[in-house]
């Protein structure tokens, strides 16, 4: 099986697939009489024909075999870890195109752009994530099996 080496999650590297959610000093504003720093508008939620909702995903470690991808054509989907543990975002421009794996620190979330192909939640330790996506009666997911699965190689 092909081996897929993760790269660090940075806003620049992840840009083709979405937005990194992290405490970016460039976005810092002091509020609440100085007791709070607001890192403002790190990501904009986009939903078409539905309502944005907040859910919790309780993730468990799973084999790091990337054998399919999915995407949500009608809205963004954000994942923010609540346990402070690292996790992986795996994406591709299209099924069959080169896969990219991003190793996120425990203080980094990511929002997949509308329609961005990605693997489901891959956490390196059991933890909860806050998820911001879209609720609507109709289906908002497309799935694609990969002819050539890949194994994420954390040890390089």
């Amino acid at each position: 099986m092909r081996r897929l080496r993760p790269e660090p999650l940075t806003p620049e590297a992840f840009a083709p697939f979405g937005t990194v959610i992290e405490a970016d000093p460039a976005s810092a504003i002091g509020i609440n009489a100085g007791f709070t720093t607001r890192f403002h508008a790190l990501a904009e939620v986009e939903v078409e024909g539905g309502a944005p909702i907040l859910s919790i995903f309780r993730g468990r470690p799973r084999p790091l075999v990337i054998d399919m991808l999915e995407r949500h054509p009608s809205g963004t989907q954000a994942f923010v870890p609540l346990g402070g543990r690292p996790w992986l975002a795996v994406c591709a421009q299209a099924p069959g195109a080169p896969l990219r794996a991003f190793l996120a620190r425990g203080d980094q979330g990511a929002q997949y752009a509308r329609g961005a192909w990605h693997f489901p939640l891959l956490t390196l330790a059991a933890q909860d994530f806050l998820v911001v996506d879209r609720a609507a009666p109709e289906r908002n997911v497309e799935l694609a099996d990969l002819a050539e699965p890949a194994q994420v190689a954390l040890d390089g």
Copy 2:
């Protein structure tokens, strides 16, 4: 100064002011080949005339003196702790009405309903929060000073 004793944050008690965001077993769905449990649609984000955005609030402990309230007339505002530490949500039906303080566990978030009067972020230990609210060019906050401030009494 009046003393305000916190009560536990529960969906029922908090209902007049908004929605509790926690892993409610009644909302659990198994997804991702069984490796993820989705606690679905715990809160619905509401924004009028603007876009929903994700921000990080870095909160520091501050004196627990409730001397003002604020509200956001054009949208909901959700706070989810990223550090797993307890925090307080303080609300009232209106400025001058009885204050209520809710002690949230570190695995509980809360979304203030549109227009709900609340005190700004009160965390009991320094930690970050994911905040989901509304961005728009016009102002979306009303402030009210309280004639009779209250002191939250954590020790009962």
